[in-house]
Amino acid sequence: MADDTHNQEGAAEVHTGHPTPMTYFKVAMILSVITAIEVAIFYVEDLGHGIIPILVVLSAAKFALVAMFYMHLRYDAKLFSGFFVGGLVLAFTVGIALLALFKFFV
């Protein structure tokens, strides 16, 4: 029964090229849980600087979920992803260059 429901959802996704409302809802729940985890981790003082990679990974996961499912990059043409990821990579490079210029890593 559960498999049938899953198959129907999958079929709907294939048919429209986009996820079903239930998928959108599940993504929203995952985003909410990740945000809650971020805030909870923030109050764990024992983590020290270890909090940085954890929060970066969680934040990146949220970013990717929204971009892939809500912005439909997972289902749309690769060129759209190229434009967006290209801008993102450039932004990241500019950021790193700026930080290096101001001796942030020294």
């Binding site: 959108y24 929060l55 969680l58 934040s59 809500y70 967006f84 932004a91 500019v94 700026l98 942030f104």
Partner: protein, 240 residues
């Protein structure tokens, strides 16, 4: 004539890429906006901890309040995508409900931001001199401990944070202010589509108009995801 007919049916004219140029242009814009916000975020990080005078992030930020506004913006992204899904299914009434919800949540987020900005601008250093616990004070508050002289039970002084106060104020208000401006533009865009739908201007065949607005809306959401982590969570965490 053929182009008009194609536009009417939600199709697009033939292009060399085979993709709709309006949508491609929107993605190019979002890519460029990534660089815009990337520069602002990098500038904030560069100047983090370099302010000579307070208040500092740990004095003014309230993570629980910002967490709620972050949650509201995340949920607005869900309602936006559900509005688009309803439109593609041809259900205009449901589309309007979700679109209105998105706009309301966007306005709620802006309300939180206005509240936060006002709160920062009216920030007061408050010390209960009679029950002073130095270990619980922030670095900025500690600089006022000597004002707790004998006979003074309570010390209170306004030290509002504005863009001119210190480097933190300048970079923080510039970054979050530009993000707020993006959200404001998004809310106006969504409300325009909503009003347009009541005049029969939004149909399943022309869902690209809504798709473009949705892309923009999700973009302001992903930018906030980064701002929330880098500015708020890293900003308040001691030692970063």
């Amino acid at each position: 004539m053929a182009e008009a007919a194609a536009a009417h049916h939600g199709e697009h004219e033939e292009t060399t890429t085979g993709l709709n140029h309006r949508k491609l242009l929107m993605w190019a814009f979002l890519g460029s906006d990534c660089m815009f916000f990337g520069s602002l975020i990098a500038t904030y990080v560069v100047y983090q901890g370099k302010s000579k005078v307070g208040p500092f992030p740990e004095d003014v930020f309230s993570i629980p309040i910002t967490s709620v506004s972050t949650f509201v913006l995340l949920m607005s992204s869900m309602s936006m995508v559900l509005a688009y899904a309803a439109l593609t299914r041809g259900n205009i009434k449901v589309f309007r409900v979700w679109l209105a919800s998105t706009a309301i949540m966007g306005m709620t987020f802006l309300g939180f931001q206005v509240f936060e900005f006002r709160d920062f601008a009216n920030y007061k250093v408050e010390l209960e001199c009679a029950h002073l616990e130095p270990e619980k004070l922030t670095e900025f508050e500690k600089t006022f401990v000597d004002r707790c002289t004998e006979g003074v039970d309570e010390f209170k002084e306004q030290h509002g944070l504005t863009p001119r106060t210190n480097l933190f104020g300048t970079t923080f208000f510039t970054l979050t202010g530009f993000h707020g401006a993006h959200v404001t533009l998004g809310v106006i865009w969504l409300l325009s589509i909503l009003f347009h739908s009541f005049r029969g201007g939004v149909r399943p065949e022309t869902n690209l108009d809504v798709d473009l607005a949705a892309l923009y809306w999700h973009f302001v959401d992903v930018v906030w995801i980064v701002i929330f982590t880098v500015v708020y969570l890293f900003g308040v965490f001691p030692g970063i």
